[in-house]
Symmetry: C2
């Protein structure tokens, strides 16, 4: 069965306009795996460095819920869900420390700290932020892009799952 | 003998504000080699990816003389000098081809094709542009930054040489 999506569905998965348009051109996809293969090729080979920075802006700072760029309700909701473990394990002092390190990171690298947060506690995220802070800017830029791809894959899975549910409900 | 420079001298070498400010903080330098060591550390470890993109804008497209960003007369003049071999070996058709490939490159990567052009003919530059065009965006971004550093080193050498000349003329 081929899954058909709208452009804005892809933008909710990854906030780069080039990504959204190329995914729409590559669709429909015969499987989730096909969509992931296309998404990886587009993100790493076709989206340029400005597109990477654009997509990063669609995320809230880790530990927060509002992003710098205007995003869809779907994207905002997914982001909250991805951070649910972090929010559940946070204390006032760890949130405060996270906020300070977020600011240091942004000051050094010029974009927000990006991490695929699913299932990770605030302490784990903070340790990772501190570890990555010592990287060279170009090295960190590529790591952030890899984290973005992990987030995109999780979101594509949610997209496919929601369409399958709608489709089975319709076929009943 | 310690060489002292103004901030704007460093900006003429590399059009990133962060680079300019950090070089001013690191100066004065006791030798040209000290300045190059500081410049490399600042460019690769402290200037972020936005700063790299900012510096790229200070260059004219190869084969041309005007840059996207406003630059000093010194920078514009150095750029012409660096391209003197290219201009001397250019034909109407090679300039036309270069212009077309520049546009393709910019379309793919989101910044202009950057190369340390000193002593290179138009044909050599064109061959390099075509070869590099197949790179992934992030790979090409780092190569462009390395070319920027080569240009910066040549310009720092000119800066030191001009100050030495002024200084020996004053001491006569």
């Amino acid at each position: 069965m081929e899954m058909s999506f709208e452009e804005k569905d892809f933008f909710s998965c990854c906030g780069s306009i080039r990504f959204e348009k190329e995914m729409a051109l590559a669709s429909p996809f015969s499987s989730f795996q096909d969509a992931v293969t296309a998404a990886r090729d587009i993100w790493f080979n076709k989206v340029d460095v400005n597109g990477w920075l654009e997509a990063f802006l669609a995320h809230p700072q880790i530990g927060e819920t509002h992003s710098a760029a205007k995003v869809s309700d779907t994207s905002a909701q997914w982001s909250k869900g991805e951070q649910s473990t972090a929010f559940a394990t946070a204390t006032d002092s760890s949130l405060q420390e996270l906020s300070e390190w977020n600011a240091r990171y942004r000051q050094k690298f010029g974009f927000i700290f990006l991490i695929c947060a699913s299932g990770r506690s605030t302490d784990e995220i903070l340790a990772e932020l501190k570890r990555r802070y010592s990287n060279r800017p170009i090295v960190e830029f590529e790591i952030a892009a890899q984290e973005q791809m992990k987030i995109t894959e999780l979101r594509l899975a949610k997209l496919f799952s929601s369409k399958t549910n709608i489709s089975s409900a319709t076929n009943k």
